[in-house]
Symmetry: C2
Subunit: 361 residues, 2 copies
């Protein structure tokens, strides 16, 4: 009989954690007991997973004695403290924070690109990439395989759920405040003034309704943000191309979920739009090409939200750049960008531990 490892979801009530619970209820079920762990204010809350009601527990060291695999969908600081505690109990930790992504002893894994890395985990921790990195590399992996990625210039349109529920609530709050006003956004400062009256302090560095905020993450050296630096460092680590040239600009936009990326990708050899499109269409089923603008078909958040694949469209080449392609990429930052990738990684570990995933009929 197949083994069914036990699983804990740490941060089960957050934006990413609750998306992970939906996935556990819809994917092939390889798990034994599933335990839910939440912040103090959510302990005792009851969530439904796989049709069963499960009560949220507090985060304690004892918990991990009985847990084979733990998904950590929590802030960096919580992961930094608690992931090693769980790992010391033999629990395999799948972390989606930024805490361990550049640790050489922690594999950074996209199942579509470097799945074998999950077994090389001397610290007992596996980490899932940032949502923007996941989207870009998932879309580009079939092209990297064929033509060898050498340079990336990326501009992101990042959804507010990328910073969790607080981001989503803030967008709804600002839109609610401004919605009746059919003159707003035409006069200097009126959006900023209106949203500054809201009771909560914004998690964003400017108004997010009727605006775009070209700053996501923390400020780093040279004026770069942590989101921009991560896209470079994580892409290099996952692809195993330490000299990959990367320059990113990360911008927050008033979209609830789904990150969009405008990608200028340069390859080692000349590439054509037709060959690239063919490689993406015939390639792995986790990439969907949506590219018929004459029929209004291109990736956009309103259509992509709630979907698992990464969507690619607006595939173009300027004659000025024969080794480059332009692509517009969308994927759901809470799903493939976070919860789905974690669950995929956890399933790889479950199989390693003896679970069996049946082939499709």
């Amino acid at each position: 009989m197949a083994i069914r490892p036990s699983l804990a979801v740490v941060g089960a009530t957050g934006a990413v954690g609750s998306t992970a619970l939906q996935m556990l209820s819809t994917r092939v079920d390889v798990w034994g007991e599933v335990r839910l762990v939440g912040a103090d204010r959510d302990v005792g809350q009851v969530e439904t997973v796989r049709g069963q009601r499960v009560t949220v527990e507090p985060l304690t060291e004892e918990l991990f004695a009985d847990v084979d695999v733990a998904l950590f969908a929590v802030p960096d600081t919580v992961s930094t403290t608690w992931a090693p505690v769980a790992a010391a109990h033999g629990t395999v930790v799948i972390d989606c924070s930024g805490a361990f992504r550049q640790d050489p002893d922690v594999p950074l894994v996209l199942p579509e690109v470097n799945p074998a890395q999950v077994r090389k985990r001397p610290r007992g921790i596996i980490t899932s990439p940032n949502a923007t990195t996941t989207s870009v590399l998932t879309a580009l992996s079939p092209l990297h395989h064929g033509w060898g990625l050498s340079e990336l210039v990326v501009t992101s349109f990042q959804a507010v759920s990328g910073i969790g529920r607080a981001g989503v609530q803030r967008l709804y709050d600002e839109v609610g405040t401004l919605a009746g006003n059919r003159r707003v956004g035409q006069v200097p400062g009126d959006v900023r003034r209106a949203v500054s009256d809201l009771p909560e302090i914004s998690p964003f560095m400017g108004p997010i309704a009727y605006n775009v905020v070209p700053f996501a993450g923390r400020l780093m050296d040279g004026g770069w943000t942590s989101e921009e630096v991560r896209l470079r460092d994580e892409s290099r680590k996952i692809l195993g191309v330490p000299k990959l040239k990367v320059s990113a600009t990360c911008v927050r936009v008033p979209v609830v979920s789904v990150h969009s990326l405008s990608v200028h990708a340069t390859f080692a050899s000349e590439i054509s739009v037709d060959a690239a499109r063919q490689a993406l269409i015939e390639g792995p089923n986790y990439v969907v090409v949506l590219d018929d603008p004459a029929s209004g078909e291109f990736p956009n958040p309103a259509d992509v939200v709630g979907s698992d694949p990464t969507f690619v469209g607006r595939i173009r080449q300027s004659p000025d750049f024969p080794r480059s392609l332009e692509l517009f990429v969308c994927s759901d930052n809470l799903r493939k960008g976070a919860a789905l990738n974690m669950v995929q990684l956890a399933e790889l570990v479950a199989v390693e531990l003896g679970a069996v995933i049946p082939e499709d009929d």
Copy 2:
């Protein structure tokens, strides 16, 4: 005594035209009679210009007999028909449509870059660039002067007013429909479904509230849009660099006014962030550097709307690209992107015709 040429504003009631009227009321006044021309439905409407009430007239050939300079803030098709009619009467036409921008006999002019071109107008028509081109080149002109621009990779975040009042009304309509819903944007298709109930047909190729639409303009060869092709062709013509390498991705975002641009600019020689910032700060006063992210200072539409300069920030350089810079540029697409540039061009012609613009005290 200084000559005061007469001026007509054709399309005076549209988004760009009404912005031009505000400018005529606030800038140094060089004009004699100002006449307003509108579509049939707006004829008879009374607008205030320079403190005076002026009645909107219909567009007729006779009108131009008494008009020295005409601003055309109308769709391409109207310009194509009527600009030559006006020019045949000796009226100098300043057009902001896309109708004549690639005509070799029509100068395409940014006053900050190639002002002398206004006098070379064999057809009697001068044309103002697309708003995205204007923003990018205004910001880059001091850098092009110092380091020689060779490549541009640009992603735009374009405001809905870029397509006129219909775009603005559509955004307000969609936001109004969705505002009460604090779950919207989390489920596949719900935004699209909700906005499809609106009585008007959208001028955009997808929902614009809680979404981004990676398609602006008309579809051209190779999957490019007219907005993307214009940025390339107009940049080459204005800078006089026919081999300039350009690749653009133009995206519509739920912002009322102000286009934002993420610019990856490559130069003929190595450039540093400090030298570039210095050149922009000490350079012409039509560029304002807003670049102190530690204090939350960067260009964004909510702060820039209603301003005349072009704002530049997030100035960075990846060590991977020593001849390139990343910049985030914002400028008001109705002002510098359209009405202001037209009024500036008209003032250059007015001076040529004998008007006098007094020096500042």
